[in-house]
Amino acid sequence: MFSAPVNRIIPFSSVDGPGNRMAIFLQSCPFQCWYCHNPETINMCVHCGICVTSCPSDALHLIDGKVVWNSSACTQCDTCIKICPYHSSPKITWYNVTEMMTKIAEVKPFIRGITLSGGECMNYPEFMQGIFTQTKKMGLNCLIDSNGYRLFSEYPELMKVCDGVMLDVKAVNPEFHLQLTHHTNENVLRNLDDLLLMGKLEEVRIVVLPGYDAHNRETIIYVAEHVKSHVKIKLLTYRPYGVRKEGLEKLGISMPSEKTMESYRQLALESGASDVIIL
């Protein structure tokens, strides 16, 4: 039975795909984006114990060399996350497929589908396939929210039970992508083409970065020319909330203006896209 570390489950989410959905966030991500809003999802806990002594609610304990989280004592003050030097969280729960299916069954009548997100959920493809195989049978729509680090074409069985992928394209320029995320974008761009061909590209998300106009333009034009009118593009406004120091130093604390965002939307439309929204 496959299992995965879960950072968070949102039983009712209206922002992780169409309609009301359960969104499941799996822990760990190969990318380390400057603007990551949830840096505590990047790495697995190394059980250093630094958070244990800082917890004001005595909800963390070091037992047999492992940090153990007591969810009922936790007040969700997030002191542990702020203090963690490893971009991780002690508040991770491992679920196997059966356990996760019990959680999903509880809300099944009220949701249109589920979204597996992260972190980078594609770090756990077997777990995902196990979940989707069952949720698909229940008539639920099954979406993946991914940074495109792993090639979807290598997981044909998973793709059979997946209705679509919401793909982040962080940057098209390879060097800039490397700086921005600490990884190359070769697979991301291949996934963009592969998913389009498979008919499994649900939407593409691009974060508009302040002070990087040339890169913003290059990425938007590339994506729009590829997806044309087939797929929705979401232009996400950079927001400094939750961004760690390293990112703030590069991107600052101000957001792109509504006017700027609208001009990028127009650019996408001029480049062939027809469904472009600003968030």
């Binding site: 009712f12 209206s14 009301n20 509880e106 009548p109």
Partner: protein, 497 residues
């Protein structure tokens, strides 16, 4: 009850509110109906509440006229011919509303407005203006939040114009319900309704299939969320205060076998007395034009057996002191709640109710929403106490265990944050799921809006602020909202993010 001098010198009351209060004072000097001293004692001790219906009923509590008759035949008494266009139709309705009584003196049911008005629409722009003025007139002249209109289940242009103007006007009156059936109501119309609900706290969603299975097609939603027969209404509505009654019990067995039956008997006797008087002696069913012209049929009235405070009742009987650990959170406490309601339903069903031949000769249960004087230790009907609500899906599932027992009204309210305004279709997913799971009535509102839902009715926060500044306001329910805010934390529901 304040005396005449107090009513007449109260600067917080409008003229109309003074007239209503003085009439009640006069009515209550009558001693014709020999109410049981035990019943009076139960009222004084807070075990039963008569909801201030007055000593001698001269009209049923809730009246739901069949306004279609006005559209088709006009009214001899009102000297109105059948209307020919949207202006005549809205004008005829406004005239008739003035002549539809109720416990509040205002009409608690305004009709299936979309069905009534849709045939008169020839020009969309003109119709929208007429409907906008009509809704404005209702808000400014029928100054009571229990005034209630219905739309749906079918998607009509009139329905859309009503929703559009409702959103534009941002008024607390009228209360509005969408009769919702995913098979009859388009997704688009449901989404539009959800979107208006997030901006104006209305319409609420009624489980159309469920109501039709109990009442047939001819049902209405009136007042707060009361299911009643079209062309009929509710005779009377007293309520058991289960939270207080439970304190008298030494054990669950004694509560079930002695205490509950005793109070059910008192309620039944009281309801019998009032309904007998209303039908046999008062002039209403003999001479009122609504009856004579067929807008109402006495046989379609129902006696409503109300209750409040099931949550606190269960917690008391199970010795739960922390409301976050009891009713709504612990399955054994919830199971007791279901057992109590089943038992109560059986007790009520055993009694042969007078003049209830179309209602199976019985009184029908109603989960009353509470009144401001109930205070924080008495939750509405079968609801989980405010401040102790679990996650929304758990709250919905909890609701569905109880809703089937209450055809004449039960519902729950959910407060959403701003982000849901962008995705009304996601909210419709939740509502669909809730109704399919057996929920009867779903209300929602957005935390940040001026118009909000208190317990079953709507108020404007800006009107309550006026009351706080000691200024009189038009809506006579605003003072109730003020009380519920101050005494029952009714504005502090959990926000769904």
């Amino acid at each position: 009850m304040p005396n005449a001098y107090e009513i007449i010198t109260d600067t917080l009351l409008t003229y109309q509110q003074q007239v209503i209060n003085l009439a009640k004072l006069g009515e209550n000097t009558d001693t014709t109906i020999p109410y049981n001293p035990e019943f009076k004692k139960a009222i004084e001790e807070g075990d039963i509440c008569d909801l201030f219906e007055g000593a001698l009923p001269y009209r049923p509590r809730y009246i739901a006229p069949d306004y279609k008759i006005l559209m088709e035949k006009g009214s001899a008494f009102l000297e109105l011919d059948p209307p020919n266009d949207i202006w005549e139709a809205t004008n005829a309705l406004m005239i008739m509303y003035r002549h539809v009584p109720s416990v509040t003196t205002f009409p608690v049911y305004l009709g299936a407005l979309d069905e009534l008005l849709n045939p008169f629409i020839t020009d969309e722009k003109e119709a929208e203006k007429a409907i906008g003025l009509f809704l404005l007139n209702i808000d400014r002249t029928l100054n009571d939040s229990f005034v209630h209109a219905n739309i749906g289940p079918r998607d009509t242009l009139a329905g859309r114009l009503i929703l559009r103007q409702t959103e534009k006007l941002q008024t607390a009156i009228p209360n509005l319900t969408l009769k919702y059936d995913p098979e009859l109501t388009s997704d688009e119309f449901a989404s539009l309704s959800a979107s208006v609900m997030l901006s104006t706290a209305k319409p609420s969603f009624a489980n159309h299939r469920m109501f039709v299975s109990e009442f047939g097609e001819r049902y209405v939603i009136a007042s707060c969320y009361n299911g009643l027969r079209l062309g009929g209404g509710g005779y009377t509505l007293p309520r058991l205060r289960l939270n207080n009654i439970a304190k008298r019990a030494v054990s669950i067995d004694q509560f079930m076998n002695e205490i509950l039956p005793h109070y059910v008997d008192l309620m039944n006797e009281y309801m019998d007395q009032r309904i007998n008087f209303l039908v046999e002696k008062s002039s209403f069913f003999k001479s009122n034009y609504l009856v004579k012209e067929g807008f109402l049929n006495q046989k379609d009235f129902i006696g409503m057996f109300g209750l409040v405070g099931l949550a606190e009742c269960c917690n008391t009987l199970m010795h739960v002191s922390d409301s976050n650990q009891g009713y709504g959170h612990a399955s054994n406490v919830d199971d007791l709640g279901v057992t109590i309601i089943q038992h109560l339903d059986n007790l009520v069903a055993k009694h042969k109710a007078p003049y209830s031949e179309n209602s199976g000769d019985r009184y029908w249960l109603h989960a009353q929403v509470g009144i401001e004087k109930d205070g924080p230790d008495s939750s509405p009907g079968c609801r989980i106490p405010i401040g102790s609500e679990p996650e929304i899906y758990k709250q919905i599932k909890h609701s569905t265990r109880f809703h089937k027992y209450f055809p004449t009204g039960i519902g729950d309210i959910f407060r959403f944050d701003e982000t849901w305004k962008k995705t009304p279709e996601a909210l419709v997913d939740i509502i669909k799921g809730a109704l399919n799971s057996g929920m009867r009535y779903f209300s929602g509102y957005c935390a940040s809006n001026d118009v909000i839902r208190v317990t079953g009715y709507l108020v404007k926060k800006s009107e309550i602020a006026k009351l706080d500044r000691k200024e009189a306001v038009m809506n006579d329910a605003s003072v109730l909202g003020q009380g519920s805010r101050d005494l029952a934390h009714a504005f502090d529901r959990r926000v769904q993010k």
